[in-house]
Symmetry: C2
Subunit: 330 residues, 2 copies
């Protein structure tokens, strides 16, 4: 039996974000659905990049952001994901390691580049993501380090990985390893369109393998094909040990045991960029859960981290979350 | 005689900034002099990058930042500088072009990479730069587009280019072209250590070719080897048509004709990152000057742009400066 040395290990797409500002009509011209994530091919990425304004490159990736958040709280986190041996791959690896996250997945030496997401932030702070996955889905089954997965209390999987069959296999394998080692499996649904693309597989995967489910309102209602938040929540509650549904400014609701705990969103002076809000909520929650904190505290740690990340550009915290948590007595 | 189609053409190092946060003792451990710019070689850059925290990649380069600022005010700007045909080179070219600046210098296809500056921002917002120049100084004399230089009212040169003989030759050539075309030549001293490395050449260059000189207090006192700001200012005043001396929070003094005009610094709620403060002051001033505005208005445009850029991470404006200037009635 592997020793527990990590709080959480995350598996997801290894992405560098290219974040730029645009007006709403730019999204319309480029057929991008505001607030969502769409996959684009290399040509579309090139054209969109040419057309967009100046960018900043900041490491991203949903589960990767969450692991950086866990580490920023002082938790022990690891990440498994695929980059290429190129400039963006070096940036990704540097940033996640220097944030204190264990990251040992071997970079690909082929010609397919590291994934990038062209993130367009509109004046209201909402982000619209256009992701070219590049080498990221080439994470092979044999690259999921079984010892590493078994070394963490919780394995955290991002739904985006379902978008490519190779990555999905690695994803399933990680869940199996965790299950066999007696660890908990957490899943985030990632995006309503992603849910729509893989609904039946998600339902089956949740039923058979997931104890902790993260979703926002659009994702959970898409999963259970109902317009009623209450109805969708009941299904999620029945299917998992802990279901966490985030509702942006309305806070979140956590279903666990026979209870539903409501957590208020933390106030933010002004929303600069919503990228990473869900990722960082998950970070706070998982950090708390791995540390055995009460569910309400886990939720409040989530709200705290989400508020920090939407107050600036980029999906990773700019100040140590441990310090913020301490200042709030959490 | 070339037609005037640009307000300003800038010539400088084409750099992508890698900006990270650190505590003061990190600078001490790495022998970096707080607030200054030092040149480092590829090995030092690799080691320092490994040791520093997560970064964000944002296009930079002193004169390049200034040209982006001029364009952001609505001015017509062009930039001449050397990148490589690599990821950072593509980022630099994309960002400056999409900001509306004419940029046609051919990228190098050799193996020397695009320049990068590892910029460490301490908790007080001060920036310390560690620059690996890479391919940037390989800007050759034959790559200074004579028509482009002659097409601008003002040619703006950054002192940092003096650090390599090849670039210095291109620099001198640009000044000669501008002079022959009857244009104005502006120079920024860039950094007190840079001034120290090239004092006699700077003095000769200013005397023979420069009409507009930008410097901060440390640079101007270094140039004239005096600890007296007043004395250094008198020399600068005597040597140039317009000498602009910036003094951080104390504002700036502009010496022109027989006058000295004092400009207050714009208030900033909190200083996030001082990178680009001088570059953006120059942008506002040059935009005003090229548009025939009174000296005092030029200075106020400079203060406005400098205040915008130090209020966030990165050395280029995040909001259109034209809009800011309009809202202040400038």
């Amino acid at each position: 039996m592997a020793e527990i040395i990590h709080d959480v290990v995350g598996i997801g797409n290894a992405i560098v974000d290219i974040i730029g500002r645009c007006k709403d009509d730019f999204l319309v011209r480029h057929n991008a659905s505001k607030g969502s994530m769409r996959l684009i091919d290399a040509d579309t990425a090139t054209k969109l990049y040419e057309d967009m304004g100046p960018g900043m490159e900041i490491s991203g990736g949903s589960a990767a952001n969450t692991m950086v958040g866990v580490a920023s709280f002082g938790g022990k986190a690891a990440f498994i994901g695929k980059v290429s041996d190129d400039e963006f791959g070096r940036i990704f690896a540097h940033d996640i390691r220097s944030a204190g996250v264990t990251f040992n997945t071997r970079p690909s030496t082929g010609s397919t580049p590291t994934a990038r997401s062209l993130i367009l932030v509109t004046p209201d702070g909402e982000r619209t993501m256009n992701t070219f996955l590049g080498v990221s889905p080439e994470l092979a089954v044999n690259e999921v380090d079984a010892d590493l997965v078994a070394s963490a209390r919780i394995v955290y999987l991002e739904g985006y990985l379902f978008d490519r069959p190779e990555a999905k296999a690695a994803f399933r394998q990680a869940a199996d390893i965790a299950q066999q080692a007696g660890r908990q499996v957490a899943l985030t649904l990632s995006d309503p369109f992603c849910v729509d693309r893989h609904r039946s597989e998600f339902l089956e995967f949740i039923r058979s393998r997931v104890q902790i489910l993260f979703a926002n309102e659009a994702e959970i209602t898409s999963l259970y094909q109902t317009s009623s938040f209450e109805e969708a929540s009941r299904y999620a509650h029945a299917a998992t040990k802990i279901a966490i549904v985030t509702r942006s400014a309305k806070g979140s609701v956590i279903f666990h045991g026979n209870k539903a705990t409501t957590i208020a969103a933390d106030r933010v002076k002004s929303v600069a960029d919503t990228t990473g809000a869900g990722d960082l909520f998950a970070a706070g929650f998982l950090y708390g859960l791995a540390g055995g904190k009460p569910i309400e505290v886990c939720g409040r740690l989530g709200s705290l981290a989400a508020a920090e990340v939407i107050s600036h550009i980029g999906a990773r915290p700019e100040v140590p979350l441990a310090q913020l948590a301490k200042s709030r007595g959490l």
